[in-house]
């Protein structure tokens, strides 16, 4: 019996080492039991991103979160964003990848919503602005994004912007950055994605 247990423990060691050592604690999944799971890649300190529900994320401090739809590059993504009083807004980068962004090769299309208004930019071009849409404490914003071929539509609340034609390739990634200090808290609720079939 003891020998069998020791053999089992010995055989378990390489499995344990490989499983623990090759796991990536900076990646987690939301909606993992649905047809369209979304991978969340935390690019900051490990404790800055926490899964607070099946499709909810709690993001603390100045970090960046990458939402990855592994099955689609052309998709609709919807989320509800809210936050603490120390949060000044949210910035969403589309049609780029984390690696391209950090390598400064492609910044993508950027949606910024802060206390002064909303802007959609691509490179140095401003595609749309709206002063009537602000970041308000206690007022969750519903943000929906659709990447369909060369066109991107963005809806903030009930207002739809676009379609914006772009030459940027569609990617699987959407980068989300809270705007604010290290104590800013961003809550993303009901994050969901679905693919678009052309």
């Amino acid at each position: 019996m003891t020998t069998a247990l020791l053999i089992l423990l010995t055989a378990f060691v390489p499995v344990f080492v490989q499983t623990v050592g090759t796991s990536d604690p900076w990646r987690l999944w939301i909606g993992e039991y649905s047809d369209e799971p979304i991978q969340v890649w935390n690019r900051g300190m490990r404790n800055t991103v926490e899964k607070s529900g099946g499709r909810n994320l709690r993001i603390t401090g100045a970090t960046r979160v990458v939402l990855i739809t592994p099955q689609h590059t052309q998709f609709r993504l919807v989320l509800h964003a809210s936050g603490s009083s120390t949060l000044d807004g949210i910035r969403i980068r589309m049609r780029t990848t984390e690696r391209d962004y950090t390598d400064n090769t492609q910044g993508g299309m950027v949606l910024s919503i802060d206390r002064s208004g909303m802007r959609i930019e691509e490179g140095i071009s401003v595609l749309a602005t709206a002063d009537s849409i602000h970041w308000h404490l206690g007022q969750p914003l519903r943000i929906a994004i659709e990447h369909d071929g060369q066109q991107t539509r963005i809806a903030v609340g009930c207002t739809v912007f676009g379609p914006f034609s772009t030459l940027l390739p569609a990617t699987q990634q959407t980068l989300i950055e809270p705007i604010g200090g290290s104590d800013a808290l961003l809550l993303l609720d009901d994050v969901a994605a679905e693919g678009i079939n052309n």
Binding site: V13, F16, V20, T22
Partner: protein, 461 residues
């Protein structure tokens, strides 16, 4: 010990078979791959306008027959960018150490300072006779893998790992020997120097389950890796049961060396393989040189004599002087089989071998490193004196399988042997020899590096 060694070997073989049935399996463990998928869509509209006017003068208001054909096309294609990153903190093939005061001084294993300078009569065998020596014990570790461990709220430089096998031989008997197959180790490194070569203090907790059950608490001061070469100072205590099921509580202190043992700082795990910093001109598992004797062989031989040189785990590191083309190298073992005497009742063998022989040379890369010429001198000081002067043309023909041509001269002082594995395999009538040779070199699992891959040249750029 035989039975246990067989058990360990069998377990190790099983682990290797299961863990890396293919090189892809090992690569998956040692390499992390990130991929980004892009979809490019291009819409295009082509209008073709065709006028088919009727012949003759029709006036300006006469309607012309015009056909407009509009074609809309959508071109969509996906492209995937893959990036490969190292995923291991440490990957080592061989590590050994000489241990101090682990038993009575007249019952020493006699492996010397690094545990591998063993008597030729006992080398590669398991029949060890007690002898008087300062380094009484030895430690050997094979096939070590350490992967990053993220715990304690991301406390850095932790690792979890195992080895195919590790052996602690405290003295020249197996009563207290500790043998572990696939032990589990948790290690924490404190970097004293964060540049290559790294200097760090490593604390380790290890658990062995089979065939010995033990707990190993140890600390070491590590220098390396540079071309896979490391030197270490060890201290620790091992508590457990030996392979003869005797209780053992053994503190130890020792010095060690390891080859083909690569250490990555955690920050290097975020650098792609293509940007990885290398320090050596070449590193390999085996280098085989069958050669034709040009002079100095068996005088009674009628035809040409063929010999063989085998270098185990050769490494050639760029020396940090000038343009880094002066290189120093070391092998774990260097075997030279020069000739066997013919037409004799007890034929003499032109044979020599060296443990950790030292090599100095000059590396001349040609065609951006696809070719290289390396004139070098190598000196083996243990277990007997043997030196070699040669020039080698390296050709990076196939990945992990370079070939080359070597022209050289080897002089061996010879040594006497009365028993043991070497005597059984090679013969006991070992002769001194001086030979000139021309050989073809084949590197097995060997990689030649180009100047652009060496960190020295990147820094200068």
């Amino acid at each position: 010990m035989n039975r246990y060694l067989r058990t360990v070997t069998a377990l190790a073989a099983c682990a290797l078979l299961l863990g890396s049935c293919s090189t892809a399996g090992l690569r998956r463990t040692l390499t992390r791959t990130e991929s980004d998928t892009y979809t490019h869509i291009r819409r295009d509209t082509t209008q073709t306008i065709e006028f088919t006017n009727a012949p003759g003068e029709r006036g300006v208001i006469y309607p012309s027959d015009r056909t407009v054909k509009t074609e809309r096309t959508i071109q969509q294609y996906d492209s995937t960018a893959e990036r490969h990153f190292p995923n291991f903190i440490r990957f080592g093939v061989f590590e050994s150490a000489g241990l101090l005061a682990t038993g009575p001084s007249d019952r020493a294993v006699g492996g010397g300072i690094f545990g591998i300078f063993t008597d030729p009569n006992e080398s590669f065998g398991n029949n060890i006779t007690p002898k008087s020596a300062l380094f009484t014990g030895s430690m050997y570790r094979f096939g070590t893998v350490e992967l990053p461990l993220y715990w304690f709220d991301d406390a850095p430089t932790w690792s979890v790992g195992t080895s195919v096998a590790e052996i602690f031989q405290w003295e020249a008997s197996n009563d207290r020997a500790i043998v572990g197959a696939l032990p589990l180790y948790f290690r924490k490194r404190l970097y004293v120097r964060e540049e290559i070569p790294y200097f760090c203090i490593t604390g380790a907790v290890g658990f062995g389950f089979l065939p010995s059950q033990y707990l190993n608490l140890s600390a070491s001061f590590d220098a390396g890796s540079l071309g896979g070469i490391n030197v270490r100072t060890y201290g620790g205590v091992l508590i457990g049961r030996s392979i003869e099921q005797r209780s053992v509580v053994q503190p130890y202190l020792g010095f060690g060396v390891s080859l083909l043992d690569f250490l990555n700082h955690p920050r290097e795990l975020r650098h792609q393989w293509k940007d990885h910093e290398h320090s050596s001109w070449d590193v390999g598992l085996l280098r085989l040189t069958p050669f034709l004797l040009l002079s100095g062989g068996d005088t009674a031989a009628r035809g040409q004599s063929i010999g063989m040189q085998l270098q185990v785990m050769p490494a050639t590191v760029g020396f940090p002087v000038g343009d880094h083309r002066i290189c120093v190298g070391v092998d774990l073992w260097n075997f030279v089989f020069a000739f066997r005497q013919q037409q004799q009742a007890n034929p003499g063998i032109g044979f020599g071998y060296g443990v950790l022989p030292l090599r100095v040379g000059y590396w001349m890369p040609i065609a951006d490193g696809a070719l290289a010429i390396e004139p070098y001198a190598m000196y083996s000081y243990f277990p007997h004196s043997m030196w070699q002067v040669a020039a080698r043309l390296h050709l990076n023909a196939v990945e992990w399988l370079p070939v080359g041509v070597t022209l050289g001269y080897i002089s061996s002082a010879g040594f006497t042997i009365s028993r043991g594995t070497i005597g059984e395999v090679v013969g006991r009538n070992i002769l001194a020899f001086n030979v000139a040779y021309l050989g073809i070199t084949i590197g097995i699992a060997e990689e030649l590096f180009r100047p652009s891959q060496l960190r020295y040249y990147r820094t200068e750029q």
